[in-house]
Every structure is written in structure tokens, then in C-alpha cells.
Amino acid sequence: MRGRSLWSARSRSRRTSGPPLSKAWLKGEADADSLALKPLEFYAENGIDFRPGVRAVQLKRSDRVVVLSDGSTLNYDVLILATGARAFALPIPGADLAGIMALRTAADAEQLKAAIGPGKTLAVVGGGYIGLEVAASGRALGAEVVVLEREARLLARVACNALSDFFRSYHEARGVRFELGCSVVGFEGTDGRVSGVKLADGRVLPCDAAVVGVGAAPNDELAAEAGLATARGVVVDLDARTSDPNIFAIGDVAHRPMPIYDRMFRMESVPNALEQAKQAASAITGRPRPAGECPWQWSDQYDLKLQIAGYPFDADEIVLRGDPATAKFAVFHLKGNQLQAVEAINAPPEFMMGKQLILSRKAVDKARLADPSISMKEVAA
């Protein structure tokens, strides 16, 4: 199928291939061009009418028309919603001061890099993966870093105790300070710029910049207003198709089925966006649906590579393989004798074989899984 495609961008800069926090970028070795997903010429050469800075403001489904923010309209045969998610802002006093940012765009990352360095203090609100990546980046830029987390441990919603403890000590050993179980009630400022974070216990922690990483909400308003089915995101099927057969939704905005877990949910990851792009493209061009998938993601902090496959839904047992003290280990989450998820630290074989086992639903021998002297290939055989 050969058609005209149009891509209208909501964010100011071109999409990058993930949060631009790579070491190369921190050291100033990667410029905006190298972070862009594709060079601008790519779009013209491939018949893609790329319109940065234009937002879609309304869908008129009965006429198959999109109304744009510049007042113009577009007709479509097939429409793909890839509107993403936006960071939750904290509904507290001072949240709009300069120097407080979410880290979702290249512009945020540039602002952060400009605001901190040696002698400066960075406050990170939220001890999830984003918060920890930012903390590591802050230390790499030479800043003092304090992470504020509402729960009693890091990664409370997503990781088990062993992994939480590991990340805490790894970061502490590299100079990051944690305030756990604390409630942020406001930001203080000087001349319109953030100067401190106020806690419920009355303390004010001084800072020169603050990053808020407390989760994100799907940008599904356009879809909801047009009457498409939504539920914590735009509801789609295995072809990434919404309740309107001519409209697809992919990436962070989609609430999608995941057959291996027999449920639907919304994910925020690069592999998820790629997978759904393949699903939609296959359906639109009449090709077979992509093969079954195991969702996965990764996080880089310092010299640690964390690779995660699956989600620990309904898991009833945790198997630890390797010693966290060596910074090379994996945490397996099992439901009965089936693997649901694995978190692998500097352990690619555990990640790669784990991903295959999650997808195959094959029974796993827990004793062998826990024994690092037996290779993962043998465990999975």
C-alpha cells in the first residue's frame, strides 16, 4: 500500500529514541542531531509530511477529519494516534517555579544539564526508575543529589525488596542521598527559581534544580472526546486498532492486550512502542500479525545495566540467582513453575533466556534456576 502519511508533532523537538540521558550526551558528545530518531530529510524522502509544532485538536470520526491547532483540517483513511503520555505534575505550591522539570523531552534534559554541575544540588522527587536514572546522571554531572520517595523503599511499585535494597546501596555508595517515606508538600523559590523542597515534617532541603518523576498519564483526551473507548489509555486490540476500525493507537497512550498474562494494561517503554508500531503497520498493510512478544525494557545507571523482561503479575515466588554484592545477579518472579518476569543486573544471559521462558510458558526447575553454576541455556533446555 502506498499512501501519504502525515506526522504532526506535539512536542517542540523531534522524538528521540528514549530519554536522552546517555553518557555520550552527558559528556556533550552527542548533539541534537544524533539524538533525533531520523534526520529531517528522511521524512521528505519517504513521503512523510512532518509538521512539527502542530497539534491535532479534534477528531471528527464521522467525516474522517482531524482538526489541527493552526485551524486547518486533514482527511484520513487510516489514523494512528501516537500521542504518548505526559508526566504527572505535583499539585503543590511552587510546582511551577523555574528549575523544576519532568524529564520526558530533549528540552527537559538540556535544561537539567544547564542547571546543575559541581557545587549544585539536584533534588529528585520520586524513587522509581526515572528518578534513579536522573540521580545517576546528576552525579555524573558532578552535582549533589538527594532523592525523595514517598514509600519506605525505592522502586516500591515495581521491584522486590532485594532489588530495592541493591539500588539503594549502589546509589548511596556513589554519593546519592535518600529521604524515604517522606512527603513533599511544596517547593520554595527565590526570584521565581526553585531554591528548596519543603517536606511535611517541616524541613526544607535546598536545591538548585528539581526533577519530578512520579509517573505519567496517557494523552488520551483527543480519543476520549471523539468517543473512542478508553480505560487508562486508548483501548486497542492485538492489531493496535481502537474501537473505530479506521483508527489505531500505539505506544504510551495505548491500553493494550498482553496474551501471555491474559490481561490488558498500558506500558511506557521503547520496545512497547516499536512492537505496537509493527502491529499497526501489519494490520494496515494486510500482513500477518507479528509473532508473540514478551514485553521488556532496560535502565542504565552508572555502569549498571538493568534489563527487565515481563511483569510479575500473580507471581507467588521469587528466585534469586547470583549475589547482589557482586552487582551481577537476576531476580526471577514465578507463578507456580512458570516464569512471569526477570530483572537482570549486568546479567544478559539471565535476561535473554528469561525472556524466552516467559514467552514459551515452559515449566522451570527452580533449584536449577537458582544455581549460577548451571548455565541459563541448560536451565532453559
Binding site: D33, S34, N46, V270, M352
Partner: protein, 106 residues
């Protein structure tokens, strides 16, 4: 800047000028060359940018890191000259580099 020749598994050649500092993977992805998936965008986390480096350039492209070695172990059809192209940084030294792609990245 280096001129790099990417050869797909079916023999189709693509000759591209790639800027210094980019990876061999990025040179392919930004120019829409099929055969290098690079699902993780260059984090050495997925092993889907596997290439075979032309023998003449093996020394110049350097050696595999432990992480790369470990990820390559799970790629299909790995040979002595296999590399993850996200781990090869482009410089003037690599002008004329030829890389060939495997049949599949998965």
C-alpha cells in the same frame, strides 16, 4: 566522516556517509537501511543490530566488551567477525568499512 557499505543478507548494498561519533548501527537506522533492527536504540540491551565486520576492518573496529560478548551469545549465526553495530563508533579510521547483515536479528 566515514563511507560505510552495509550489505543486506540478500546482497543489496547501501553506501552511506556516516558522521564521526555516531555508531555503525545509528548510521543504518537513520538512513532507513533494512536488516538492523536495533530495538533498544543502542544500549547494548537487545542484540538486534548484529553485523559481520569485513575481515580487513576487524582490527580497526576494536574488540567486543564483556557485555557485548554476553549479548552476542544469544544472537543467531554468530561468527568470529560478529559484532553488535551499536558498539562500533564511527571515525575517519573506518572510512571504507563494509558490514554484512545476518539473515535475521531475532
Amino acid at each position: 566522516m566515514a563511507k560505510i557499505t552495509y550489505i543486506e543478507h540478500d546482497g543489496t548494498e547501501h553506501v552511506i556517509d556516516v558522521k564521526n561519533g555516531l555508531s555503525v548501527m545509528e548510521g543504518a537506522v537513520k538512513n532507513n537501511i533494512p536488516g538492523i533492527d536495533a530495538d533498544c536504540g543502542g544500549a547494548c540491551a537487545c542484540a538486534t543490530c548484529h553485523v559481520y565486520v569485513d575481515e580487513a576492518f576487524l582490527a580497526k573496529t576494536g574488540t567486543r566488551s564483556a557485555m557485548e560478548e554476553s549479548m552476542l551469545d544469544f544472537a543467531e549465526g554468530v561468527e568470529e567477525n560478529s559484532r553488535l553495530s551499536c558498539q562500533i563508533k564511527v571515525s575517519d579510521d573506518l572510512d571504507g568499512l563494509i558490514v554484512r547483515m545476518p539473515e535475521s536479528q531475532h
